[in-house]
């Protein structure tokens, strides 16, 4: 790794040392080296990129980057002028804008530096080719490589740009917010916020009389893990078994059965979840049916329902709510899993199955030795993604427990409730309580958990060079 970097810079140093006037002048004007070798259009394009960058930095982002260390010093003040009856606002600093644009500015400078090294090396490569009297690509040939050897650049550039815009910048921004005091009392544009170091991380692990974040965090973290495991496991197994069951030769009208399950997917999740939430509400239809057939009374007599309640608290008491969300999630998730498992099951190479059958393997053996390894290979990575997705499963929890009110003061103090996942907790913190700093800290924790878990299992699944096994 360090050897590679050393090589890289050695190549750069050599380019500077041995470069002729075209190569050296492209240290300053990026396009010069291409134009000097006859690659006019490419040279102009590269030059335009450089000009665009300088224009962006000095015309826009530099002013914000200068203020990054303090995140602004001038607070907004309105002065009312009685003579003209007009309000005038001073030239205030907006911490939010400073942080966001500052990050973008720094990112562009890093990209510029990378381009600088890369460009110099490439121009030097051109010089060497010219000296050896080798062929230098015309613009048309350059374009041609973009759909051949360098096709991946064409493929990845647009999606990469999108990811930069809606993933990388926002993530960098929110990570930075975790180290500031951005909350209800420090909201731009009226107020400034500033850096506070690791203060928020300390708060997250404190449990005292007034600060209960530590208490809530540990409990919610444990529940999130249990939930993610249970939700992933139940829907995965359920989906595969159901797909296998429907695709079995002995099942008639396979398409009909499949379609019946697919109907539940066709109705958007938030509609069905809100609906099911209302059905299982404290005074919902399930409760009135349960009390009619005497189930409520029975559960009361065995102590599962508190004596003071006239209904079954499906989604409003800890314990009950925890079990119900997992059960309802099976209802939501199994048809999806069934559908994707069907696609995969149909794609199992038929020759393998037939060979096994000729060798006298039983159906069960085929399932265990061929079907499952194949399904696991294809869905393995997606199983991890499913686990991560369940850690972040916002909809199910949020929509089903929206009427839940926590009676535990320690939870309520930190704006949490028992069936919350980390993700719904942090959503509540940002949306209803404007506590961005703590939400960011929790977000970073969620991220670390997901990242570590994934890296461990992913390394085993993908890195073991099994990519080509089925190709």
């Amino acid at each position: 790794m360090t050897g590679k970097i050393k090589n890289y810079f050695a190549g750069f140093a050599e380019a500077v040392r041995k470069g002729d006037r075209w190569t050296r002048s492209s240290l300053l004007l990026f396009g010069a080296g291409y134009i000097g070798r006859g690659q006019i259009i490419r040279g102009i394009l590269v030059q335009l990129i450089q000009i665009g960058f300088i224009w962006f930095t000095f015309g826009f982002s530099a002013q914000y980057m200068m203020q990054l260390p303090t995140l602004g010093t001038v607070q907004r003040e309105e002065t009312f002028d009685p003579a003209t009856l007009a309000k005038t606002v001073n030239d205030y600093d907006n911490s939010l804008l400073i942080l966001l644009c500052g990050i973008i500015g720094i990112f562009f400078i890093l990209a510029y530096i990378l381009l600088f090294f890369q460009n110099t090396r490439r121009v030097y490569g051109l010089q060497k080719r010219a000296e050896a009297k080798e062929h230098i690509n015309s613009f048309r040939e350059d374009l041609h490589t973009l759909i051949n050897e360098k096709f991946y650049l064409t493929l990845l550039s647009l999606p990469g740009l999108g990811v930069l815009l809606v993933n990388i910048f926002p993530i960098l921004f929110m990570i930075c917010v975790a180290f500031t005091n951005y909350d209800k009392r420090h909201q731009p544009p009226t107020y400034l916020f500033t850096w506070v170091g690791l203060e928020n991380f300390k708060t997250l692990f404190t449990s005292s009389q007034t600060v209960t974040f530590g208490y809530a965090f540990i409990r919610i973290l444990v529940w999130t893990m249990i939930w993610a495991f249970a939700a992933t496991f139940t829907t995965f197994i359920g989906g595969i078994l159901l797909a296998k069951f429907i695709n079995d030769r002995r099942t008639r009208c396979q398409k009909l059965w499949r379609s019946l399950f697919v109907i539940t997917i066709a109705i958007p999740q938030f509609v069905t979840l809100l609906l099911v939430g209302k059905m299982f509400g404290d005074y919902g239809i399930v409760n009135s049916i349960c009390s009619k057939i005497g189930l409520t009374g029975f559960l009361k007599s065995i102590g599962l329902v508190g004596a003071g309640l006239s209904y079954i608290p499906f989604l409003s008491k800890p314990g009950w709510a925890h079990v119900m969300v997992i059960l309802i999630n099976i209802w939501v998730g199994v048809p999806f899993q069934m559908l994707s498992a069907t696609g995969i099951l149909m794609n199992i190479p038929n020759d393998q199955l037939e060979a096994a059958r000729i060798d006298g393997a039983s159906e069960r053996q085929i399932f265990r030795k061929i079907t499952m390894p194949y399904v696991l290979f294809i869905t393995g990575p997606s199983l991890i993604t499913a686990f991560i997705a369940n850690i972040n499963n916002f909809n199910v929890i949020y929509l089903l427990t929206s009427d839940y009110v926590s009676t535990n003061m320690k939870f309520a103090n930190s704006n949490a409730k028992e069936p919350d996942l980390l993700i719904t907790w942090l959503f509540n913190l940002t949306n209803n309580h404007s506590n961005f700093k703590m939400a960011s800290v929790i977000g970073i924790c969620v991220f670390l958990i997901s990242a570590i878990g994934t890296l461990i299992s992913f390394a085993r699944l993908i890195k073991g060079n099994r990519e080509e096994d089925f190709q």
């Binding site: 966001l100 644009c101 041609h144 051949n148 096709f151 493929l155 990845l156 999108g162 990811v163 815009l165 809606v166 993933n167 910048f169 926002p170 921004f173 929110m174 159901l242 429907i246 008639r252 019946l260 399950f261 109907i263 539940t264 066709a266 109705i267 958007p268 938030f270 509609v271 069905t272 809100l274 099911v276 209302k278 059905m279 919902g284 239809i285 409760n287 049916i289 209802w331 069907t342 696609g343 149909m346 794609n347 290979f377 294809i378 393995g380 997606s382 993604t385 972040n392 916002f394 949020y398 993700i423 942090l426 959503f427 940002t430 961005f436 977000g443 991220f447 990242a451 992913f458 190709q471």
Partner: protein
């Protein structure tokens, strides 16, 4: 004799029982949408009086809180655009990662996967600020960008599928002088119809299902600027649910129509054994 009949019957009875459990809420949704009582009927499963008025209200009597035709149009536009963009992005990224070999490929893949794990709910706020900077809040274009721009990160499943397409197919195409672009469009894409179906459905569903991001992005109080998800979600808030619950049910059912049509069109492509027999020997 009896054993021969009992087992298939049991098998189908079991399936029927499962289907029953799965369809009960849908049935309730359907019958409630036909009820004359506007709120949540907590005493009876079936309504006491039946009417089609809720659908009529949904389509022809838009009011200050419910403007279903406009919601539907907005969501349709967003859904179709996202569908196209996301599907292209996912296929492109998957092809690059699965079928091409270039320096830094594995690192980039791991990086994308790690990136995809950052909680979306958290970056939502930041996305809102970025979009505000670009002047794209309160617009359908902004929502399309948000839903589809990051879709390239969801390449894992599709890449797993591309990995199972025999490499010999691509090699033989290359020997016959096809460029990578041609291999991508003429060999790999036609072979991956099930995967495309999966991606298209997912991409189309996202904007129909998401109400959180939409609520955050579209601050307009004018219902005709909302999406279906936002509007319907608004109808079951505590102040409105008593008067609009049946309308909500009717809306939920209507939303299912475009999605079901998509499923039916796409189901054709779930062909058996797509790669079987493509390569001889």
């Amino acid at each position: 004799m009896s054993k021969k009949y009992i087992r298939p019957v049991l098998r189908h009875l079991f399936l029927a029982a499962l289907v029953f459990v799965w369809l009960i809420p849908i049935l309730w949704l359907f019958v409630t949408s036909l009820s004359t009582y506007k709120g949540i009927n907590t005493m009876h499963f079936f309504p006491t009086h039946w009417t089609l008025d809720n659908y009529h209200q949904l389509f022809f009597r838009p009011d200050t809180v419910a403007n279903f035709p406009a919601w539907f149009r907005n969501s349709m536009v967003i859904g179709c655009c996202c569908c196209v963009i996301s599907t292209f992005f996912v296929l492109m990224v998957s092809y690059a990662f699965s079928c091409m070999r270039f320096p830094g490929r594995k690192k980039l893949m791991s990086f994308s996967i790690i990136l995809g794990m950052f909680p979306g709910v958290l970056s939502m706020i930041a996305i809102y600020f970025v979009m505000k900077l670009l002047g794209l809040t309160d617009s359908i274009g902004g929502l399309i960008i948000i839903y589809s721009a990051g879709s390239g990160l969801g390449f894992l499943i599709c890449k797993g599928f591309f990995d199972t397409i025999p490499a010999s197919l691509r090699e033989s195409a290359r020997l016959e002088g096809a460029s990578e672009l041609q291999i991508f469009t003429r060999v790999v894409i036609p072979l991956s119809k099930p995967m495309i179906v999966y991606t298209v459905i997912n991409a189309f569903l996202t904007p129909w299902m998401d109400f959180v991001m939409a609520k955050l992005m579209i601050r307009s109080k004018e219902p005709s600027h909302w999406t279906v998800a936002m509007g319907l979600f608004n109808l079951v808030q505590r102040t409105l649910v008593g008067d609009y619950f049946t309308v909500f049910c009717a809306g939920g059912l209507i939303v299912a129509i475009p999605i079901s049509v998509l499923f039916i069109i796409m189901q054709r492509f779930y062909v058996e054994g797509i790669t079987g027999g493509a390569v001889k020997g």
